[in-house]
């Protein structure tokens, strides 16, 4: 097992790309590289949080995706700022954000598991409801974010953002969750082969529901923190839909499920943030940013591919349809780093 972990490190590519962009920025701007890095480290955590949630959902197997993260972030932003302004407690605000995420996730989960609605539609619809509520809240919204929490988010002892450290700890917790807990192993088993996991005694529905709830809670947390850091707005979360999926894909998580790479989310998030910085530095428009991002996702996606070439040479007596065939990479542990 250990041998194979060292042989394939799918998360390394995100970091390599991030380093490359960093060097380019360094060469163009001529500024101190430390400052760029520090800035990137203070922006990346938000993407990492929502990315970790998306990663858990994607790991639950083919077809699982949470597209409600964007509206949830926006809604949680308003909710948390309103609650923290109302109660005067930043903690209550953050909890309110997480709660909002959980509520939306409960709606999607009931639709997915109870009504057998495909995850994409269920989360889209739940997200639509959430964005309606957001628009409703946004009208005449006057509350301001909690200054104490904002200061905390801006805290950078020795140039290292405190939030980055906290989220690094969260990432480590996710690694522990996936490797050392029964839940994490069950999730990975369900992602590889849902039927087999069910026959092996894994409570499949509960495992999948938990993944969506965790994703909703993490998106809510992102919204709460982001609204405090920037300001609540109706399109606060818009960019996080593609970005969260993208960092998961680029980070090395298997898009067909069954292999999660939490550390890879960090590398990919840093890469994305630095890329934004580079695009701004060069003075490109949002058009170019979108093009670049969409193009990159497609590039990585098509480069990685969904299925293993080895499958075509494997015994074909019992051929399976495409989605199932996509889960056959044999190398690599399922929770690298």
């Amino acid at each position: 097992m250990n041998l194979r972990v060292t042989r394939s490190r799918p998360w390394i590519w995100g970091f390599a790309a991030a380093a490359l962009i960093w060097l380019v920025i360094l060469a163009i701007s001529g500024q101190g590289g430390g400052q760029t890095l520090s800035l990137a480290l203070s922006l990346a955590p938000y993407l990492v949080i929502v990315g970790l949630g998306q990663m858990l959902v994607v790991t639950a197997g083919p077809g699982n995706i949470d597209v409600s993260v964007a509206p949830v972030i926006s809604l949680a932003g308003f909710a948390s700022v309103a609650v923290s302004a109302g109660t005067g407690s930043a903690l209550a605000g953050v909890l309110a954000g997480i709660g909002v995420g959980l509520v939306v996730a409960v709606v999607s989960t009931v639709a997915i598991l109870g009504l057998a609605i495909p995850p994409i539609i269920a989360t889209l619809a739940a997200g639509l409801v959430a964005s309606s509520v957001t628009l409703h809240l946004a009208g005449g919204f006057t509350a301001v974010p909690d200054p104490g929490l904002r200061e905390l988010l801006n805290l950078r002892p020795l140039g290292v953002p405190a939030l980055a450290v906290a989220i690094a700890a969260l990432t480590w917790l996710t690694v522990v969750l996936l490797r050392r807990t029964v839940y994490g192993r069950s999730l990975i088993a369900v992602g590889q082969n849902r039927r087999a996991a069910e026959r092996a005694g894994v409570p499949v529905s509960r495992v999948i529901a938990t993944a969506y709830l965790l994703s909703g809670a993490l998106a809510g947390l992102t919204g709460a923190l982001l609204a405090t850091y920037i300001a609540p707005s109706a399109d606060l979360g818009t960019r996080y839909l593609l970005d969260s999926v993208a960092v998961v894909v680029i980070g090395g998580t298997l898009i067909s499920g069954g292999r999660a790479v939490p550390v890879g989310v960090w590398g990919a998030a840093l890469f994305f943030i630095l890329l934004d910085g580079l695009v701004n530095l060069v003075g490109w428009s949002t058009a170019a940013q979108n093009l670049l991002k969409g193009g990159l996702v497609l590039f990585v996606l098509f480069l990685a591919g969904g299925g293993d070439r080895a499958r075509s040479t494997a015994p074909r007596l019992r051929r399976r349809p495409r989605p199932a065939a996509a889960t056959t990479t044999t190398t690599g542990d399922n929770s690298d780093g």
């Binding site: 995706i65 639509l128 009208g139 593609l242 894909v249 058009a287 051929r319």
Partner: protein
């Protein structure tokens, strides 16, 4: 042999296949009924023109989505793509018809290429089209950073065309749906596409390449997306890349309303048309009912969930 002669077949099976479309047709009639009680003028030619015109691009986009769902894929980029087409229409096509036409053809080719890569690299269409949607968005912003431009006169004239005797929007809806019906339900290309969604192994055993089926489906979807964008531009008179962003969910919902399935294998052009018109009318009804605009997307989301839940129930009852 007696047991073989007692087929449980026609009635129940056929009913199961056509039930969803029938349910949404009923919903459509109910919706028109509500409209006409709220606003009696709706039932006139002019009223119907007004009410239906907004649904034309949606119905055509729903046909594009239906084509991809027939092969078992799903397109999360159709909204951005239609928006991009309106932008191309309002800029390139009006300044130089030849260049504009070539760009639109290029967009169709890009869709076919997307299908090719999705097939060859065995990538989930869900995520690939999501990524592509940002490419479409970026291209649209690149061509036209803020909404504007103007559509070519012939297109605007078509949008404003009001023949006497029948509501003009019915024409493109019926025409496109009939064409898609010929292609996807009657023609051999449709058999290839649906076979891919239904049982790719059978397709391979018969010596047909699944790749071709998928590329045909994506090219068709791209072509229909272009038509949908043209229809939208003819009504708005300008280009806006995010003008159709709600189409992504709406088209999927329209296909499902019309009896399509996520697993592929079935083509329901008429069902998708009925579903698209029904969903398009929802916003008309909502505005007639004075529902606030910020609640409209919630109501739409709720309707989609309710309809899908209803289908699950209908499916269980008919089993």
């Amino acid at each position: 042999m007696a047991e073989l002669l007692a087929p449980t077949l026609p009635g129940r099976a056929r009913m199961r296949h056509s039930a969803p479309a029938a349910v949404s047709a009923l919903a459509l009639i109910a919706m028109i009924g509500v409209c006409s009680t709220l606003q009696p003028g709706v039932l006139s030619v002019q009223g119907l023109t007004l009410v239906l015109s907004a649904t034309v691009p949606l119905v055509i986009a729903a046909q594009a989505q239906m084509t991809l769902m027939a092969v078992g894929d799903i397109d999360l980029g159709i909204g951005a793509f239609v928006g991009l087409v309106t932008v191309v229409t309002a800029t390139k096509l009006s300044s130089s018809p030849l260049v504009g036409g070539l760009v639109l053809l290029g967009l169709v080719a890009a869709y076919a290429l997307l299908g090719l890569l999705i097939h060859l690299r065995r990538v989930p269409s869900l995520i690939a089209t999501l990524g592509a949607s940002f490419v479409w968005l970026g291209l649209g912003l690149f061509l036209l950073p803020t909404p504007g431009g103007s559509t070519p006169e012939w297109l605007a004239a078509f949008g404003a065309w009001q023949p006497a005797g029948f509501p003009a929007p019915l024409l493109p809806i019926l025409l496109v749906t009939a064409l898609v019906h010929l292609l996807a339900s009657r023609g051999s290309a449709g058999v290839r596409m649906r076979a891919l969604g239904s049982n790719p192994v059978a397709l391979g055993r018969a010596g047909l390449r699944p790749l071709t089926s998928r590329v045909i489906a994506y090219a068709t979807a791209g072509g229909l997306g272009v038509v949908s964008g043209l229809a939208l531009a003819s009504q708005t008179g300008g280009g806006d890349v995010s003008s159709a962003s709600s189409y992504t969910l709406m088209t999927v919902a329209a296909v499902i309303l019309g009896g399509g399935s996520f697993s592929g294998g079935v083509a329901v052009p008429w069902g998708a048309a009925v579903g698209g018109v029904t969903l398009g009318l929802v916003s008309v009804v909502l505005s007639l009912l004075d529902v606030r605009s910020d609640l409209q997307s919630a109501v739409q989301g709720g309707i989609v969930l309710a309809v899908l839940a209803g289908r699950v129930l209908v499916g269980k009852v008919l089993r």
